[in-house]
């Protein structure tokens, strides 16, 4: 580890390590170490661009008496995240069918409702019980008395790079903060304790103790507050705190798995093309 280590080990290879810090159905946080910022960013972009998820892609409005235009209803339904099974569906581009409407690459939803009332995602009847909206209570349209809404929606697999509705979630990372307090210079004035926004500094025996450095926001308020230049904030660009926040379509660990798989496939494809060139 160095201030600009770049992540390469002594033998020129990567010594990658992942340490899961938190994991639940919606979120995942892990420490990714032994890689350089380029790799961490490639992973982040793979998560938001290359993970296939389901979203409504085409809509056929049969009856719409509501005050909301067809296009806005279509956009709203498209934005609803759908639970996506890992297997069983293929991307429409890779499917053998011609129109992209076969059961191998599409799921059909039907909706029929008469007002008064609010049309919610729970009213969408899916042709596959595994592909359903992540939440049944999302309001889509409000219908007045006597107004009708009837439509067919076709959901397909897609990638985040085509439209944001296919993004499986949000991925972020930050460099590991390295916060050092020089005990010889620190006179225990506690000026830094007061100004730290995440409150990770605390006084201990007339000096300063750092509790959880991963919560540091790198704002450097502590450095500025210190009159004796006892506190220094650096970052380690070979260690990252990586967060994946799922919108419910896939589990965060599935998102990570799919993202890494897509990176691997891209590299393999690249090697194949290079081999062809060399021959």
């Amino acid at each position: 580890m160095g201030p600009r280590g770049g992540g390469e080990g002594g033998d020129g290879g990567f010594e990658v390590d992942i340490e899961i810090r938190a994991l639940n159905d919606g979120e995942m946080e892990f420490k990714l170490s032994g890689v350089n910022p380029a790799f961490a960013n490639a992973l982040r972009r793979a998560v938001i661009r290359e993970v296939p998820t389901m979203a409504v892609d085409e809509i056929e409005v049969l009856v719409n008496d509501s005050a909301i235009h067809d296009e806005i209803i279509a956009h709203r339904i498209g934005m609803v995240p759908l639970k996506t099974p890992l297997r069983g569906y293929s991307l429409p581009e890779e499917c053998n069918c011609e129109d992209g409407k076969c059961p191998k690459c599409s799921v059909t939803f039907s909706l029929k409702k008469e007002g008064p009332g609010v049309v919610v995602t729970g009213d969408l009847k899916s042709s596959d019980e595994n592909v359903v909206p992540v939440d049944d209570s999302i309001p889509l349209v409000k219908l007045e008395k006597g107004q009708k809404l009837e439509l067919l929606a076709i959901a397909r697999l897609g990638l985040g790079r085509m439209h944001a509705k296919w993004q499986p979630g949000v991925a972020t990372y930050k460099y590991m903060p390295v916060l050092r307090v020089d005990p010889r210079r620190c006179d225990g004035c506690n000026a830094c304790v007061e100004v730290c926004p995440p409150k990770i500094l605390s006084p201990s025996n007339g000096k300063i103790k750092v509790s959880d450095v991963t919560k540091c926001t790198m704002c450097r308020m502590c450095e500025r507050a210190c009159r004796r230049e006892a506190i220094t904030l650096r970052y380690d660009d070979t260690e990252f705190i990586f967060r994946i926040e799922s919108n419910g379509a896939l589990k965060p660990e599935q998102i990570l798995q799919k993202a890494i798989k897509s990176l691997e496939d891209k590299c393999k494809e690249f090697i194949k093309l290079l081999d062809k060139l060399v021959e």
Binding site: S66, A67, I68, I72, R76, M79, V80, P81, V134, D135, S137, I138, P139, V141, K142, E144, A164, K165, Q167, G169, V170, E245, N247, G248
Partner: protein
């Protein structure tokens, strides 16, 4: 647009399932900051959407011509 967005306009986080609880709690006098924090809405993009979006569907419905 008139209807409150389903996802955060900037980051894409699902917000439509959270308006009901948020509105109810803020209306009952809780501090919006505390409610947002407790509901796990961390980023300022999502917080802006939660705080500033208005449901105008009833207003629009008045102008619907049959």
């Amino acid at each position: 647009m008139g209807v409150r967005p389903i996802r955060c306009i900037t980051c894409g986080k699902l917000l439509a399932d959270k308006y009901e609880e948020f509105d109810r709690r803020v209306k009952s006098g809780e501090n919006p900051k505390v409610v947002l924090d407790e509901m796990g809405i961390r980023r300022y993009c999502c917080r802006t959407v939660m705080l500033t979006s208005i449901d105008l569907t009833d207003e629009i419905a008045k102008f619907k011509k049959w």
